[in-house]
């Protein structure tokens, strides 16, 4: 069903990671993603894995939830691993069949790539698990605010993002409602060829568009009524403040970078 889509999946909690400043989290997650690509040897990657597991434990998000975020990507991970296994060659050859060659280097690269993607996914999903969408867009707004020098309206962009996120569940609900109403009038949505099916979408999308515009007008009106005039001179109820724990995290991540670089230097590179 469409309602299974979960975007901005936030896991309510009160852990160290939850309490961190969203801006710092954003920057650190970005840095960590870069570190993952800096890893050259299995040892440096292993350090990243250990750190990731540590971060998951620290966030108190259940492992089951984390696995759920990996689930949709399993096919992609397997696919990249499979490609790498056969397309990278070098080292001892274990098995050969026509042009396909299974080599030591191929296997190493495949494992390396798979683990790398896993770490990337888990780290970035930790960000959304421990930060509410509102906090996240707030952080983006603050981080991008230097761009206003170039007359880019950062606040407006952030507001649009917040609103878009907010209305996803509403629209999903709306689509389901309209689909049911048209099905009750005998619309066939699940049968027929491509043309018949795309034609069947008209009775769904016209009402959806109409009500989206109606909603947009109503929302704009409601915001105007509450004196919303954009970002200028707007203050916040929740001030973002960097606390000691944010600096501790930053130092920790910096130490991690050092560790990755040292391990890269002393051990053999896989890729």
């Amino acid at each position: 069903m469409i309602s299974d889509i979960s975007i901005g999946q936030y896991f309510t909690g009160n852990s160290f990671l939850h309490k961190m400043d969203a801006r710092m989290k954003f920057i650190l997650v970005f840095a960590l993603l870069v570190f993952v690509f800096l890893c050259k040897s299995f040892f440096s990657l292993a350090l990243m894995v250990v750190f990731t597991v540590f971060a998951v434990i620290l966030s108190k998000v259940p492992f089951k939830m984390v696995l759920k975020s990996i689930k949709p990507l399993v096919i992609i991970i397997l696919f990249t691993a499979l490609l790498n296994i056969f397309y990278t060659t070098g080292g001892t050859t274990y098995f050969e069949w026509h042009s396909l060659k299974l080599t030591e280097k191929g296997i190493n690269t495949a494992i390396f790539m798979a683990v790398r993607i896993l770490v990337l996914v888990v780290i970035s999903s930790l960000l959304t698990y421990t930060t509410t969408p509102t906090m996240l867009t707030d952080a983006i707004e603050r981080l991008l605010s230097p761009l206003s020098v170039f007359h880019i309206k950062v606040h407006t962009l952030a507001m649009m993002m917040t609103l878009a996120l907010r209305f996803i569940p509403t629209l999903v609900e709306e689509i389901e409602r309209i689909m049911n109403a048209q099905k009750a009038r005998g619309a066939e949505l699940e049968t027929g060829g491509l043309i018949a099916r795309s034609k069947a979408l008209v009775p769904i999308f016209v009402p959806l568009m109409v009500s989206s515009f109606r909603r947009a007008y109503e929302l704009a009106f409601a915001m105007t009524c509450r004196c919303y005039t954009g970002g200028e001179g707007r203050t916040r109820m929740k001030q973002m403040k960097l606390k000691p724990r944010d600096f501790i995290a930053a130092v920790f991540v910096a130490a991690l970078l050092a560790g990755v670089l040292v391990l890269n230097h002393f051990f053999e590179a896989v890729i």
Partner: protein, 294 residues
Amino acid sequence: MTPAVEVRNLTHYYLKGTENQVAAINNINLSVEKGETLGIIGHTGSGKSTLIAHFNGLLKPDEGEVLVDGKNIFESKETLRQSRFTLRQSRFKVGLCFQYPEYQLFEETVYKDIAFGPKNMKLPQEEIDRRVLTAAGMAGVRKENLEKSPFDLSGGEKRRAAIAGVMSMEPQVLVLDEPAAGLDPAGRRELINMIKNYRRATGCTVIIVSHSMEDIASVADRVCVLNKAEIAMLGTPKEVYTRDEELRSMGLNVPEITRIFIMLKKRGLDVPADVFTVDDAVASIRKLSERGKA
């Protein structure tokens, strides 16, 4: 006689399989006779809308079965289709009209929108034309509006056009979910009269979901009260509305006029407690005053 719609031990869960699983409707047994008008009343979240979405197979029961015209609609794909329409008899079985049906309008003209259902039934053009005009007449869609865009109509007119869109399929059972929600008193009255006329003209089974006691009282033969996913009461309006205290504990109200009469009775006046409409009230007060004179 086989009932028009029957549900047996019907249960439907929301968020099934998660920790938050709740029964939206729990072990419901209900049968609706042919030609009857049944009112379904309940507090918000009592399971009314979930229940009616089972009548034409939009929702699948987790337990129990749904019989339309004596046939289990989930028996096969074919029976499920037939619950929406039977091609051979070109007769729609259960026509479901959702809450705020005006949000389903999409065609260029009102006429085309009303014709959407019959067209899906693959009826010949003359038959479609006949049905559109009949349904438009019954639902009170004015002739000059038929060629207008549905988005140019007023709220009440849109509502009527959307209801006509369901009526034009000439269902054996017409299910209306909160047909009068959001209309002004005049629009409400018109709508209730429209439903009454429809019944008189077609003799079809009508099921109305509402939380307005007044509306239900004036049209329904029987009333089914849902509370916390279960049927709390089932009977004629008279049987149900005299259980004033119980209804209130479920967050429902008896019609205002009934409450006045119940209070009058408590104060020792010799009036009946089963008055649901103002007309009845006037009549019984007249009777009382005539008796007083005599």
